[in-house]
């Protein structure tokens, strides 16, 4: 066999084997080129250009197009997953994606942004807790405790970031502290509503711990801001501190107005549905009047605090705001209890009362 193959190969160069001789091939090529009408003029496009275009079309374009398409698909798929994960609660399959996404955001953020991000994540934890509790089929009760602890950890991290920020002498310290303080203030009043009725001793301990931590960090953010202003007193830092004070100052004013409005609504509800509600003795007119008085007392010192701030006693001014805020929070929880009781009573009542439409709205929203 091999012998046969080599014999055949040896015969290849024979004219009878049908191959071209070198001269024949040249002739045939010239003939072929003539018959295709080849102009032997230099092509206007250089070989190099042709090569590059060819390369780009056949080797770069195809794999890269596929690659780009793949990446786009993967990323869009990922984005969809991430977006879906935003809605997830602890215990969901996608919840890990949500947490990873948060971690990714943190990795990319600067220190001042990190502090604010942590408060935003804390807010996520609170909404998750609210969602968990709205789902009665959710039997894993320790999820609430765990999530509450996660919330506390986020708040603590925000605090840590703030302190690092102050130590580093960052110019954004006061603005960040203000933002953190503001976010925490709204969180502070949401904790109680998120977990209206702690299901276990652990849960209620977690809630207490969360509240304490939030309050501490809130206070601390004020300390950080005042401290940062002391460290670097410039027009800018003073303006930042002033802005922070004004925000809190306005917030307390708004809360006062809102709380008074809520008391007024309760009064209307009590009068309008006297027959239904009188038996429950939720709140008497005297109680309502006392609440109104307490509110006014709570905010009485706020106006002078502004002067105090202007005179340079920043710490003292912030302390006044803090005291007012704590007093208001106590009053607000009493109001919220009354609102919940009234709503519950009216929901069970046979005829739909007039006030029902506006009352639940205010009871759900405890902050202005």
């Amino acid at each position: 066999m091999t012998n046969l193959a080599s014999q055949l190969r040896a015969a290849a160069s024979q004219p009878s084997a049908g191959g071209f001789s070198v001269e024949q091939k040249l002739v045939a090529k010239r003939r072929m080129l003539t018959s295709i009408g080849a102009d032997l003029a230099e092509s206007p496009v250089s070989l190099r250009t042709k090569y590059l275009i060819w390369i780009s079309q056949s080797f770069i374009s195809r794999p890269v197009t596929i690659g780009v398409a793949g990446v786009v698909l993967a990323v869009s798929g990922l984005m969809t997953t991430v977006q879906a994960a935003q809605q997830s609660v602890p215990g969901d399959a996608l919840y890990t994606v949500k947490l990873i996404n948060e971690q990714a955001k943190l990795q990319l953020a600067s220190l001042d942004r990190k502090a604010v991000l942590h408060t935003e994540f804390a807010s996520n934890r609170l909404s998750e807790i609210a969602k968990l509790q709205s789902e009665p089929q959710n039997t894993a009760t320790d999820l609430v405790t765990k999530t509450m602890n996660a919330y506390t950890a986020e708040v603590a991290s925000a605090n840590k970031n703030l302190q690092e920020l102050q130590v580093s002498g960052n110019t954004a310290t006061i603005a960040t502290a203000s933002q953190v303080q503001q976010n925490l203030a709204s969180l502070n009043s949401s904790i109680a509503t998120a977990v209206a009725a702690p299901a276990s001793p652990e849960e209620s301990a977690a809630v207490t711990s969360a509240q304490t931590t939030t309050q501490t960090v809130q206070d601390n953010s004020v300390t950080v801001a005042v401290q940062a202003h002391q460290d670097i007193t410039t027009e800018q830092t003073t303006a930042d501190l002033q802005a922070m004070f004004t925000t809190q100052f306005t917030a307390i004013g708004a809360r006062k107005t809102f709380d008074l409005h809520r008391i007024a609504m309760i009064r209307v509800a009590l009068t309008a549905n006297a027959s239904t509600l009188s038996a429950l003795t939720i709140m008497t007119e005297a109680d309502l009047a006392r609440l109104e008085r307490s509110i006014n007392i709570a905010v009485a010192d706020v106006a002078p605090a502004n002067d105090q701030f202007q005179s340079g006693d920043y710490r003292g001014a912030f302390d006044v705001l803090k005291r007012s805020s704590a007093l208001l929070r106590g009053i607000e929880s009493t109001i919220a209890d009354a609102e919940t009781a009234i709503t519950a009573a009216l929901m069970n009542a046979p005829s739909l009362p007039v006030i029902e439409s506006s009352d639940p709205a205010s009871s759900e929203k405890t902050t202005p």
Binding site: L4, A11, G19, K29
Partner: protein, 176 residues
Amino acid sequence: MSILREKFLAYRVSRYKDSTAYGEIFDLFADRIRRFLAFKLPRTEDADDLTNEVFLRGWEYMNTESVANLNAFFFRIARNLVADFYRKHKVTEDLSKAAHATTDETISDTVGTKMESDALIEILHTIKDEYREVLVMRYLSEMEVGEIASALEKTSNAVRILLHRAKKALEDKLPK
């Protein structure tokens, strides 16, 4: 031969009507096509004419369409042209005999090995077309099995089996 080089040449032809590139393609494939035709056609002149025709048609086609496999492409044209040729000329066995006559004339030197080779080619003419085709492609044109497969539009395995049988058939005809 490099498949990339082939593709680049084909691209230059279809995109730029680059006759230099087509010349290179001719250099790559002309031999095997001519050999294929030479064993199919009665006279060397016919093989030359048809080789020219194959590349002329190839040029026209490639100017408008892109070709994935040049080897298979040229062989397909060649096969079609051979079919056309026999349809037109109504050629029979006689022409095939005539071909041998012409090839005999071209032998100038009578060296022993050449005699042997010519004798072998004579015998090659006596076996089945199908067998001769693969043997010519494999051993005279030095084509790979894959290339033969694409030229004949068969699978590589079918070509291997064909080669095996062809060698056996040729061996049987060889003088013992």
